[in-house]
């Protein structure tokens, strides 16, 4: 075995340039893999966090009817008695806040725009959401305000500035038209493009009165620390809420299916790209091993003549290809880790490139990568093993030749 390793290592250094070029192909493949995977991981994790902090909390309690017709945001299906829900959830290890979400049309100047209006309780909303930390201009909402907070992109699209007045037209809980004349008290610049792009926030007490809610709200947002894997928690919460007919709870994962599907689709697309990168590396390694084998057919013949088993010769080539894989993997992982570290530390500001574009991820501005040790380790192992596998066919071909033909081979 020691001899086979020595032989493989010496053969690698025999054609140093070829070895390094082939290893470089694999290294570039791994670099791309680690970079891309880290980036996707970062975008995904940041998106998840931004969904929790700015969009849906860990879960939402709603009526069955409201959930079924979620896109229309029908106020008539609001939770009549939110206090009863809060009572049922007492001691469940969740933080709650009340919200009423409805569709509205903002009129400003000669234009109008349909938006999602979220009425929040300024006292309790901060326990779950982080909107108050993202006020870019003006101030956060206060109870009793006749004011509105707008997402930055929305404000820009409408050309509205803090202090100006807008009108929101909507329907009350009973279907009557209602118009709200509101002062823009602040502009939010959240890292969640969905919030930035099409959401307006008003105080809950204002909505309660203007929309004839009479204490009803469309949802209770919940926060619990187990949000990453919410299934078990949701199950226990559903059991608690079973005393309240028609009330249900949905996790952020169920409420953000669009994001999860896009993230999965992008991951699948990236996997295809990664496979292509590895095919390129595979072709390089196969080609190198093919050359290595055919240059050494006579050597192979001599070793077989001396009684070396075909399996041992195959192992020698496996080690040699594994050596290329190891060099490529070390360089690729090294460069990948450096690239990933730069991306974790500083990221890339995509705001100029993407503008107000929504690409599905809940990330705006700076895209940062995340560490994904399993992918890095997996890439390393895969690189070495794949390189070894690519040597099997060329060496097997040479071993199929008669020993006498090998010895005569020119």
């Amino acid at each position: 075995m020691k001899f086979l390793i020595t032989l493989a290592w010496k053969n690698l250094s025999r054609y140093r340039r070829r070895t390094m070029i082939t290893a470089a192909a694999l290294a570039v493949g791994l670099l791309f893999f680690i970079f891309l995977d880290g980036w996707l991981q970062g975008a995904e994790r940041e998106s998840e966090r931004n969904i929790i902090w700015y969009e849906s909390g860990s879960a939402k309690v709603m009526t069955d009817e409201y959930l079924e017709d979620l896109k229309s945001m029908p106020l008539k299906y609001a939770i009549q008695d939110p206090a009863a829900v809060e009572q049922a959830l007492e001691g469940a290890g969740v933080t709650t806040t009340r919200r009423t979400v409805f569709a509205g049309e903002i009129f400003y100047g000669e234009g109008s725009l349909f938006v999602k209006v979220v009425a929040v309780d300024p006292q309790t909303d901060e326990k779950i959401y982080r909107l108050s930390e993202t006020v870019a201009e003006g101030r956060y909402l206060e109870s009793g305000d006749q004011g509105v907070l707008l997402g930055e992109w929305l404000a820009q699209d409408l050309g509205i500035e803090v202090g100006e007045e807008i009108t929101i037209r909507t329907r009350t809980r009973y279907g009557a038209f209602q118009t709200l004349d509101l002062i823009v008290v602040g502009v939010l610049n959240t890292p969640n493009p969905v919030v930035n792009k099409g959401t307006a926030f008003i105080p809950l007490d204002l909505a309660d009165e203007a929309l004839e809610m009479e204490g009803a709200v469309t949802e209770l947002t919940l926060y619990f620390p187990e949000w990453r894997d919410p299934e078990a928690k949701i199950q226990s919460l559903r059991e608690r809420l079973s005393v309240l007919p028609g009330i249900t709870v949905e996790s952020w994962k169920d409420l953000s299916r669009d994001f999860l599907m896009i993230a999965q689709a992008k991951s699948a697309g990236s996997s295809v790209l990664l496979i292509l990168v590895f095919i390129i590396a595979a072709v390089g390694i196969s080609n190198t091993m093919l050359m290595a084998v055919y240059e050494r057919v006579r050597e192979i013949g001599m070793m077989r003549a001396m009684g070396m088993k075909d399996g041992a010769i195959r192992v020698a080539f496996l080690f040699e290809a594994g050596g290329i894989g190891l060099i490529g993997a070390v360089i690729g992982v090294g460069l990948g880790v450096i690239a990933n570290w730069l991306m974790v530390r500083w990221g890339i500001d995509m705001s100029t490139l993407m503008g107000h574009m929504d690409i599905g991820y809940r990330v705006a501005g700076v895209f940062r990568s995340a560490w994904h040790p399993q992918a890095i380790a997996g890439g390393f192992v895969f690189g070495v093993i794949a390189a070894m596998l690519f040597s099997i066919i060329p060496s097997s071909r040479a071993l199929k030749m008669q020993i006498t033909d090998c010895l005569r081979y020119e």
Binding site: M302, A305, M306, T404
Partner: protein, 227 residues
């Protein structure tokens, strides 16, 4: 020690069947220094390959130290070659990335010999073939004669029953060829190792104590000489 019984070997080249050996029989005793001679195409290399278990006869049987080779599978033949046979090739066939020492010790590594014994025997045989002090040189740093000495050392280090040498002087000038032959004669006398050459070089034939001539795949003469 070696018995070749009525061996034939046919090759098919395109539509044509070439009869490389036509019923060859001979026996080789331990310690012989024998040359198989003949013109190109006479079948000498084919016969050497069959005795060396590198190829299979079309018919007939070859016995090596009493063992019939035709019934052996690939692995058994590899084991037989590893334990009992040594090879010296016309173009040396050394592994270019390994030093003289490593090329020679490789043969013992295959036998699973332990490290200290490998070291001792490799240094010993290299000294014997006149390569002391050149152990670390790569084949490319050695002359043709020195490379063939390495090949001889590689063949002999495992103390085989038989060393087969296919045109061992063909790639050497006559002086170097003579040196190699002298070395082989010495080793034959000293260790009692059996040597069988294939050649069409008169000098090699002159060195042989037994000369078997082949023509068109048949033995035409088998001449034994005094040492």
């Amino acid at each position: 020690m070696i018995r070749v019984e009525n061996v034939t070997k046919d090759y098919t080249v395109g539509q044509t069947v070439v009869h490389a050996l036509r019923g060859v029989s001979l026996s080789i005793e331990k310690g012989e220094f024998m040359s198989i001679a003949g013109p190109s195409g006479s079948g000498k290399t084919t016969l050497l390959n069959l005795i060396g278990c590198l190829d299979k006869a079309t018919s007939g049987e070859i016995y090596i130290v009493g063992e019939a080779v035709s019934s052996k599978n690939k692995k058994e033949l590899a084991l037989l070659r590893r334990q009992r046979l040594g090879f010296v090739f016309q173009s040396f066939n050394l592994i270019p990335v390994l030093s003289a020492y490593e090329n020679v010790s490789f043969a013992l590594s295959l036998l699973g010999t332990n490290g200290s014994e490998i070291k001792e025997r490799t240094h010993g045989i290299l000294e014997e073939v006149g390569l002391k002090g050149m152990e670390t040189r790569l084949p490319g740093e050695l002359s043709g004669g020195q490379q063939q000495r390495v090949a001889v050392a590689r063949a002999l280090i495992k103390e085989p029953d038989l060393v087969l040498a296919d045109e061992p002087t063909a790639n050497l000038d006559s002086d170097t060829g003579r040196e190699i032959l002298d070395l082989m004669v010495d080793l034959n006398k000293k260790h009692g190792t059996t040597f069988v050459f294939s050649t069409h070089d008169q000098m090699v034939m002159d060195y042989a104590r037994r000369l078997v001539r082949l023509h068109d795949g048949e033995i035409t003469s088998d001449e034994r000489r005094g040492s």
